[in-house]
């Protein structure tokens, strides 16, 4: 038996997907031209699956700051902040994040994935209880695995079920940490944070919200789902990423908790990896400022998201329950999903094909992430492509199909 034979079933499934057309998990663009457009085999394609919510990847000020930093400070830090020390930019970005959230402390990680690994494995330990939403991102599950707290799942976005599972723990010793995502990355649904915060208050627990897909997206000031729901006082920890609305890479934690800085020497994914390079810190700091200075970006994003959500629903596609920048069409089966995905690519639309078990309901998904930078014409183009392919595959509502 060969070493990788253990993955044979997955390899076969992947092969079947690849044989149906392009390889959805290994796209090779000739070039990325803007936040919303790339070239693929010589043809233009609309980028609709890149989580580039505010379209800041090509922002001139962000690029200038990044270039200046790489020239002045070099290409990398070549080590962890524990060993190689912090650059001024790391500290300044942490101060800006803390100020943005109105919190006492902030800590920057090298990726958002590592932020969850580092935070969840350090905040709670043996004898404590981590209470996770069932649809949590892989980084949350992996963070739970890296730590030694007992892990309990509750039904997705269901505060009553959360209550039931906390009640079941009864008087068991140990702390409770509830982990929620502001916007869930597959269906784009928003957490009912007001109700969850009420359960937290009643049952006694800490609350952590991962705003990876909602920072810069939700809330009047862009502070995320927590701000939008008015539960900032109930939220003990906020985790997020620089790789979506801020257009770079990296993760963070903010909190008012006492003794925060001890996390810097307890969190292995913080200690045992190189810190972010100066160029990334510089573009992220600039993007954070741009995001705060320009609420118009958020308004444009919301408008685009609402439009795509409404139009796909009008065509008869099954989407998530509410408009958000993640607009997902549920596909009836794998064959349809793969055919549809390839059809969209031929029409010049790239989005994510998500397949079980990475999807919440065992159904394949066509997942879009809308950007503030998408033009009305690009959204028109996407909707027309969905309508055409949906009609070919018999997926549309009768009145939409004949329209």
């Amino acid at each position: 038996m060969a070493l990788l034979d253990q993955h044979l079933a997955l390899a076969e499934a992947y092969k079947a997907v690849r044989e149906a057309g392009a390889d959805p998990f290994n796209m090779r663009f000739d070039a990325v031209l803007s936040p919303t457009e790339a070239r693929l085999k010589g043809r233009p394609v609309v980028l609709l699956g890149s989580n580039n919510y505010l379209g800041l990847t090509f922002d001139e000020a962000c690029i200038d700051a990044s270039v200046e930093a790489v020239q002045r400070l070099g290409t990398g830090t070549t080590g962890s902040r524990i060993a190689n020390g912090s650059f001024e930019g790391h500290l300044a970005l942490e101060a800006s994040l803390a100020r943005f959230y109105g919190r006492r402390h902030a800590m920057v990680f090298t990726t958002g994935y590592q932020a969850n690994l580092g935070v969840l494995s350090s905040l709670v330990g043996r004898g404590d209880h981590l209470i996770l939403d069932a649809d949590s991102h892989a980084s949350i599950y992996d963070g739970a695995k890296l730590g030694s707290a007992e892990v309990i799942r509750f039904r997705h976005n269901d505060p009553d079920d959360l209550y039931k599972r906390l009640r079941r723990l009864g008087s068991a010793p140990g702390e409770r940490l509830i982990v929620i995502e502001g916007i869930y990355s597959m269906m784009g649904d928003i957490a009912p944070l007001r109700e969850i915060a009420a359960v937290k208050r009643e049952m006694g627990a800490y609350l952590l919200v991962d705003e990876a897909h909602s920072m810069g997206v939700l809330g009047e000031r862009g502070r995320g789902a927590v701000e939008a729901a008015g539960v900032e006082a109930d939220t003990d920890f906020i985790v997020g990423t620089f790789s979506k609305s801020l257009g770079a890479i990296g993760g963070y934690l903010v909190s008012d908790i006492e003794n925060f800085d001890v996390l810097r020497v307890t969190s292995r994914p913080y200690m045992f990896t190189a810190s972010l390079p100066p160029s990334v810190i510089a573009s992220t700091s600039t993007a954070l400022a741009r995001m705060q200075a320009e609420p118009g970006l958020r308004a444009r994003l919301a408008h685009n998201a609402q439009r795509l959500f409404s139009e796909l629903n009008a065509l008869g596609f099954k989407t998530g329950p509410q408009p958000s920048p993640i607009v997902t069409a549920v596909m009836p089966d794998m064959a349809t999903a793969v055919t549809f995905w390839n059809g969209l690519l031929r029409e010049g639309v790239y989005l994510n094909l998500a397949v079980p078990p990475a999807t919440p309901t065992n159904q394949p998904l066509l997942r879009s992430s809308v950007s503030a930078a998408h033009t009305p014409q690009q959204i028109d183009h996407v909707v027309a492509a969905f309508a055409r392919i949906g009609a070919e595959l018999g997926l549309l509502l009768p009145q939409a199909a004949s329209a």
């Binding site: 069932a134 739970a144 695995k145 030694s148 007992e150 892990v151 309990i152 799942r153 039904r155 039931k164 599972r165 079941r168 723990l169 079980p356 078990p357 065992n362």
Partner: protein
Amino acid sequence: MQTVVTDLTVRQIALATEQVLGKSVQISRETDIARDLEVDSLSLMNIVMELEDAFDLSVPLDRLASVQTVGDLADLLAMLRRGH
């Protein structure tokens, strides 16, 4: 007496599995959950969630690492019901 309790547990596991997979299954203590039932990691967690409700107890996910067969799962549930 022990056998009866375990049989009931196996039946509950069958019910939970059918609920999650949306199809009927034939299982015994010897059934290998991943191989025989084609249950992936997510489905197993969902089956456990149903069982938590059926037995009104908590099954921490880390306890699932040693579960391979239906019998392993039934034993784990029995242990947790005894408060271990």
